[in-house]
């Protein structure tokens, strides 16, 4: 528990963990949706502070990870074209397409640029009127308002040389797809704090009610996560399935309504393929009719892309919580953060990459037997 005791209030963390131990009478499987939360849980050893039966399942909440290979290939094909400036967030540079990645396209002479914000890409378009500027708009609801604002501004400026390659994904439909999947194991959710800071949590009561799962809006700090887990366990033990907000200092029920209004104007709901999961109905956003002229897929008409995922990769099972990363035969061998075979290894927020980076090479059974030799809170 090196990091936790060094970094956060270890005493309060231990107290919450003891409370979780005291109230837990049987095994529960709880999914944290957001990749940032996965990173924090593994980094701080929070899963190792929990009773052996409380199993944290690491959800699909890393947009870099779930962006389909086909779209990565489209991005590479556009970035390669002469007269194009292709702008992206830095974490997409090394996501492998079928034959290359954006970093290599730059090495071959493509004008690939990293921007901090999609609004910076609009500035690039203003300054380069003779070039087509494309921004790679991936992300969940947290990232969507910034991407929406970029096309909103581009339209108001009358820019004809700016477009967005959109791969927006939405959290609630993914949660529902997981709950609907055959053999679903998830019994409760920690909802993603920053997604909810934009969207609020008004979409969740219907989900909680329909599938009888508690949903706790949770932050990213060790104490936030422990408190979110504690609240979920309290509900599970009591047979309750309510929506709770454990991140009230950032999240409100309604969320940011100005941002939601902008999103409703710029985007419309669409079916979207998730890498490692497949197509989930109504699980993404594409540009609405009024903004369709800014859609890079329409502007560049890239066709003839055929992709095939690795046969070794079991990221779909990791994303559903059916296996832990180390139970995949390729984990740490053929598949590493340097050579990712699938969704959960391609970004540091993916479950497999987090396990790899923090040295978690044991399978669930090995972890459980190692854990049973230790008692009390704070093992590991």
């Amino acid at each position: 528990m090196k990091y936790l005791t060094e970094f956060r209030n270890g005493e309060i963390a231990q107290k919450i963990a003891r409370e979780i131990h005291a109230i837990t009478t049987r095994p529960w499987k709880i999914m944290e949706v957001c990749g940032g939360q996965t990173h924090s849980i593994i980094r701080n050893g929070i899963d190792q502070m929990l009773p052996a039966g409380i199993d944290m399942i690491h959800g699909p909440g890393c947009p870099v990870c779930v962006t389909p290979l086909e779209l990565i290939d489209k991005a590479l094909a556009i970035a390669e074209q002469p007269g194009v400036i292709f702008c992206s967030f830095g974490d997409m540079l090394r996501v492998p397409g079928t034959d290359a990645d954006l970093f290599q396209i730059k090495g071959r002479g493509g004008d690939v640029r990293v921007v901090y914000s999609p609004l910076d890409a609009v500035d690039v378009a203003v300054k380069n009127p003779d070039k087509q500027v494309v921004f790679f708009g991936v992300g969940f609801e947290t990232t969507a308002p910034a991407n929406a604002m970029s096309v909103h501004v581009a339209k108001r400026r009358g820019l004809k040389n700016f477009s967005l390659l959109v791969s927006h994904v939405l959290v609630p439909p993914a949660m529902e797809a997981i709950l609907n999947s055959p053999g679903n194991l998830v019994q409760g959710f920690l909802a993603a704090g920053h997604v909810c800071s934009v969207m609020g949590y008004w979409e969740y009561p219907a989900l909680a009610e329909k599938y009888r799962v508690p949903i706790v809006v949770t932050g990213f700090e060790p104490l936030d996560l422990l408190d979110g887990i504690r609240r979920a366990v309290v509900q599970l033990e009591a047979g309750k399935y309510e929506v709770e907000n454990a991140y009230g200092r950032v999240v409100t029920f309604d969320g940011n309504q100005a941002a939601q209004k902008l999103l409703a104007e710029v985007f419309e709901v669409t079916d979207r393929a998730w890498r490692g999961i497949g197509v989930i109905p109504k699980s993404g956003w594409k540009l609405s009719e009024a903004y369709r002229e800014f859609d890079a897929e329409e502007r560049f008409h890239i066709t003839g892309i055929h992709t095939q995922e690795s046969a070794l990769c079991r990221s779909g099972e990791v994303l559903r919580g059916a296996i832990k990363p180390a139970e995949c035969g390729a984990f740490g061998k053929e598949c590493t953060p340097r050579h990712p075979l699938g969704a959960t290894m391609v970004s540091s927020e993916g479950a497999c990459a987090a396990y790899f980076n923090y040295g978690r090479f044991l399978s669930a059974e090995e972890l459980a037997s190692a854990g049973s030799a230790l008692t009390g809170v704070g093992r590991g």
């Binding site: 870099v64 830095g90 090495g107 914000s117 999609p118 609004l119 501004v153 800071s197 100005a258 990712p340």
Partner: protein, 112 residues
Amino acid sequence: MCLAIPGRVEEITTDGLIRVGRVNFGGVVKSVCLDCVPDVEVGDYTIVHVGFAISKIDEKTAQETLALFREMGVLDEELAGEEEQFARAAGRPQSACPDGSCEVEAVKTAVD
């Protein structure tokens, strides 16, 4: 990637279309769109994701979150400039290459 970083608003202007703030993230100052947080004023803390302010938060929460994100290494990752982002990518060899030969290519590209 979905982490929003807290920062302190130091200055508010407009570029003619949107409300823009200069926001200080523990020493790194960035230009941020404040259009969707109309109640945020100079001196307030707001959480920002990729140059877009999402909500107002109190200073204590902001400082705690900044410390956590710095500790996790995500602060540098989110706020790094373009050169640093490419340098970092250069250190990660191409992913579709299982035999390591791509490391040579990656280094070559970085030198070019």
